[in-house]
């Protein structure tokens, strides 16, 4: 789960990582409880590149805060609408450095990266400006790694990187992070430091035992729709194109992604990604009915395609659940086309035929049927 910068900073502060005082604002009433200025108004989305997208602005008066907030809220950047801004005190009189800790999958460890410059994309820095090493996944090992890397810098920056890095090591391990990047890390001449920006990615798989992150998710489910949905419903659902015309009821992450790619390649507009986990429905319609309701919320959805390759799932049982779920989700008014392969196909054919749902074993034939509905012609 990619945390909003505001949540990232709140979480980091619990591990004694210094962050500028700031407040999350979701409307234009910014009058109360702001830290002293001047300020920086930062649009909150779960993606990088915010500066380039024009949703980070400096402000010296309360009026400017309101103007910037007004301009930033509601903008859509990288397919995400900006619903909140963080109004934060500007940091003055400091130079910039870079530090990040991330999971290194190939090395089965934690990679520490540092640079004496910050504020820009780390990949834009020359290779010899970057120090990097992998540590074993323990606080002690990461701290030793941080100290060794920091020692190759000088003066205030060496002291600041070593101190910030040790605190980040604790935060990283305790919160079961995937990535924490502080860029820039503001460093003052006396070696004190403060985190200018924070990118924090946590492990969705650990959410059930990470109370702090789970509380953040529950407090702001709109900002983390995919993670919230997975935690609550046990399946993965992503609206990939809010204007999409084709709803998808699919299982398996890889096959579902590939289907979306192939649909787009032939000019169709899929609305959603879904890994419904058909093997884990356990004879209940609740998850399917929820999914059908979500798909029905797509304003331009004209048809729904079911694509299941049943390695293990019993298709007769799945089809019975599907037909019941459709009756529980009358919101879904669009025609349904099914493509099923695997265990229990004859039983599925009987159930779907009785429900008037056309069934194909060949994906290309199912898509030909789907296209009839998209072009507006009834078959």
């Amino acid at each position: 789960m990619y945390l909003l910068e505001h949540d990232a900073k709140e979480l980091l502060a619990r591990y004694q990582i210094h962050v500028p005082p700031g407040k999350l604002v979701s409307d234009l009433d910014t009058s109360g409880n702001l830290p002293p200025g001047p300020w920086i108004v930062k649009g909150q989305i779960t993606a990088g590149g915010r500066g380039k997208a024009g949703i980070i602005k400096k402000a010296t008066t309360a009026q400017e805060i309101i103007e910037h907030t007004k301009a930033i809220l509601g903008k859509v950047v990288k397919n995400r609408r900006v619903d909140t801004v963080r109004v934060e005190q500007q940091v003055a009189g400091a130079t910039e450095a870079y530090i990040s800790l991330m999971i290194d999958a190939a090395a089965a460890g934690v990679r520490v990266i540092m640079a004496a410059e910050g504020g820009m994309d780390i990949e834009a820095l020359p290779k010899d400006a970057i120090r990097s090493a992998v540590a074993a996944p323990t606080v002690d090992a990461i701290t030793r790694c941080v100290q060794a890397l920091a020692a190759s810098f000088e003066g205030a920056k060496a002291r600041a990187l070593a101190d910030a890095g040790a605190k980040l090591a604790s935060a990283f391990m305790a919160s079961e992070a995937m990535l924490i990047e502080i860029n820039p890390l503001f460093v003052k001449s006396d070696g004190t430091w403060i985190a200018g920006d924070a990118k924090f990615v946590t492990d969705d798989g650990a959410l059930e035992r990470q109370d702090d992150t789970r509380a953040m998710l529950n407090a702001r489910t709109a900002a983390y729709p995919e993670a919230a949905l997975k935690l609550e419903h046990g399946c993965d659902y992503v609206v990939v194109d809010p204007e999409g015309e084709l709803g998808l009821l699919t299982t398996g992450a890889g096959l579902s992604m590939m289907l979306i790619d192939e649909l787009r390649a032939v000019g169709l507009k899929p609305y959603n990604f879904l890994d419904v986990r058909s093997g884990g429905l356990r004879g209940e319609t609740a998850r399917l009915a929820k999914v059908l309701k979500w798909i029905s919320a797509g304003p331009n959805v004209k048809v729904m395609l079911i694509n299941i390759f049943a390695g293990i799932t019993e298709l007769g049982e799945f089809s019975r659940l599907l037909v019941s779920a459709l009756s529980e989700a009358p919101e879904l008014k669009v025609p349904v086309v099914a493509r099923l392969v695997g265990n229990g196909l004859p039983a599925a054919r009987e159930v779907l035929s009785a429900a008037g749902i056309p069934l194909y074993a060949d994906l290309d034939e199912a898509l030909a049927e789907v296209k009839k509905h998209l072009s507006g012609n009834q078959p």
Partner: protein, 291 residues
């Protein structure tokens, strides 16, 4: 070299055999011909499940049966302990289909497996199989016929569909390894390049990949480093996935220019691989080249 060429005689235990997945898949594996010698269940109330004798712990089961291999079908938060228990009992091959293993647990598991010199396939793996001999995990038998294609996949479903469509056209697989969709895992594509290079039954490799991470890129580098000379085909899912969103698999996440479809395509093509844009193109391409 990692050698995944198990046989129908390889003695296999199932950790968590009394759970829902354990009961179903121990039956399916046994029907395929896998030599299941023991099931582990701490709540041992009966003496066998699907004709497989039960033990309360790995060490006793390994001592009694000489098992070398385990399939662990336990919950995500119990998986690290299950792997540690299997290693301590002397198990050499561990296959873990469980989805959702916490990443920090996977880091610890990977280090423990490496320290023991064992081989771990997973987590979040659909399983592995030597077609016609042995299957460990969930791979559907309809997709599994013996043939010349070495198959490695992050995804279960996309590999089932690929294997099925190839099998329908008479094209089978040699050694099929589901490396799994997690970011931190046991065996990775690159680890298996030396094995496939010398495996006589394997005439070509099919990589079924996904956006996120850099495993496909590492695989491409390993092909170049080992001068891998058999044809390599690749199908990569997630070309049109939005940035910063996890697409079902924990590892399928694009950040900025990292892990993108295009970066993977370029790396694979530079290593001489053919990257296909769709399942149909992949199946046609593999058949044309190998028939």
């Amino acid at each position: 070299m990692i050698n995944p060429r198990l046989t129908k005689n390889t003695p296999v235990i199932i950790q968590g055999i009394s759970g829902r997945a354990g009961r179903l898949h121990s039956r399916l594996m046994k029907e395929y011909g896998t030599n299941l010698v023991a099931g582990i269940s701490s709540r041992k109330a009966v003496s066998e499940i699907n004709g497989v004798p039960l033990f309360t712990d790995c060490a006793t089961a390994v001592k009694a049966t000489g098992a070398t291999t385990s399939v662990a079908l336990v919950g995500a938060f119990d998986l690290l302990a299950a792997i540690e228990e299997a290693l301590a009992a002397g198990i050499r091959y561990i296959v873990t289909p469980t989805e959702g293993m916490p990443v920090h647990d996977a880091l610890k598991a990977k280090r423990a497996v490496d320290a023991a010199g064992a081989i771990w396939v997973g987590a979040s793996t659909p399983g592995m199989a030597i077609a016609g001999e042995v299957k460990l995990g969930f791979l559907p038998s309809d997709s599994l016929i013996p043939g010349p294609v070495g198959l490695m996949s992050k995804s279960g479903t996309l590999s089932y569909e690929s294997g099925y469509r190839l099998a329908q056209r008479g094209m089978g697989t040699s050694v099929w390894i589901g490396v799994g969709g997690d970011a931190v895992k046991g065996v990775r594509y690159a680890d298996l390049v030396p094995f496939y290079a010398q495996d006589e039954q394997t005439q070509a490799l099919l990589i079924i990949g996904e956006i996120g991470g850099h495993e496909e890129e590492d695989f491409a580098a390993a092909c170049i480093a080992h001068k891998f000379s058999k044809p390599v085909f690749a199908l990569i899912a997630g070309r049109s996935a939005p940035e910063g969103v996890t697409m079902g698999h924990a590892g399928a996440l694009v950040h900025g220019s990292h892990g993108t479809w295009n970066a993977k395509r370029l790396a694979l093509e530079a290593a001489g691989a053919t990257v296909f844009g769709s399942l149909n193109e992949m199946v046609d391409g593999v058949i044309r080249r190998l028939k």
